[in-house]
């Protein structure tokens, strides 16, 4: 039961946020897009607030929830740098990440987002299979 409860609540919170944000502000929540607005647009206040909230909410381990799996040992900076470059460049070229394409895009049955999600899931699964 416990193993279902946390992911269920987590997913419902994510879906609820995407829905409330959509029905009030009229936009999709895409983290890679919001971050690039913060970096490269002139309208910086709102993306800043979203990302500040995200970091605060996402650091809530222990306050609201108990960790079932420990964090990995800190990994090589090079692995993280290569990963970050690919995620940064790839999400911008592909126009979205797990939130924008994966959650919001599939929720509205966007063919682009469905293809994008299948593609990044496939390459991620292959990458993990090779690395492990």
């Amino acid at each position: 039961m416990d193993s279902i409860f946390n992911p269920l609540v987590g997913g419902l919170l994510i879906g609820l946020t995407a829905t409330v944000y959509l029905l009030t502000i009229g936009k999709v929540i895409g983290i890679s897009g919001i971050l690039s607005q913060l970096l490269f647009s002139k309208e910086r206040l709102l993306p800043f607030l979203f990302i500040a909230g995200l970091i605060i909410g996402g650091s809530a381990y222990g306050v609201f929830t108990e960790q079932t799996v420990p964090f990995p040992e800190v990994r090589s900076p090079w692995l993280l740098i290569i990963s970050g470059l690919l995620v940064g460049y790839g999400t911008r070229l592909g126009g979205g990440c797990t939130s924008g394409h994966g959650v919001c895009g599939i929720s509205r049955f966007s063919p682009r987002s469905i293809i994008a999600t299948l593609t990044f899931m496939a390459t991620a699964i292959i990458t993990v299979a090779i690395v492990n």
Binding site: I4, N6, P7, L8, G10, G11, L12, L13, I14, G15, T17, A18, T19, T24, I25, G26, K27, I29, L35, L49, I51, A52, G53, L54, I55, I56, G57, G58, S59, F64, Q67, T68, V69, F71, V74, P77, I82, S83, G84, L85, G88, Y89, G90, R92, G94, C97, S99, V103, S107, R112, I115, A116, T119, F120, T123, A124, I125, T127, V128, A129
Partner: protein, 139 residues
């Protein structure tokens, strides 16, 4: 009003990531490791998030405009092009390498700064490269 909704959305979205343990790259890699010791919990996360999202879009389709903003700004692109496929493919490789996608990477800045700083630093450089490339091709 915009500021309040945006900040609250970020907070609750982040809480959702923490609850679902997507902020922990070990959980994400466990989910992607279908050939190994598979941890399926993120299927529940995706399914419940999308389930609520589908209801959200059904409500949206019955309304002329959002409650606060004056127009819908939902992307309506439909074409499948090589940029979509190549970009998503590269993103997936990066995601599989570290277990971080952009949201959990940002939360790693506080949860696990020894990793988050490298990942987000490189993510900003990667996004910047695309931004510059875009600017150059638009000239």
């Amino acid at each position: 009003m915009y500021a309040f909704i945006t900040l609250a959305s970020g907070l609750v979205f982040g809480l959702g990531l923490a609850f679902s343990e997507m902020t922990n790259p070990a959980v994400v890699i466990g989910f992607l490791d279908i050939m190994g010791d598979w941890n399926p919990s993120l299927i529940i996360v995706m399914a419940s998030a999308i389930g609520v999202g589908v209801i959200g879009y059904a409500i949206k389709n019955k309304r002329i405009k959002p409650l606060v903003a004056s127009t819908w700004q939902v992307p309506n692109l439909r074409h499948i092009d090589s940029q979509l496929i190549i970009g998503s493919g590269l993103f997936g490789i990066g995601w599989g390498l570290s277990g971080y996608c952009p949201g959990p990477g940002l939360t790693a800045l506080t949860n696990n700064p020894n990793e988050g700083l490298y990942f987000i630093g490189a993510l900003i450089v990667g996004s910047g490269l695309h931004f510059l490339q875009n600017k150059a091709t638009q000239k």
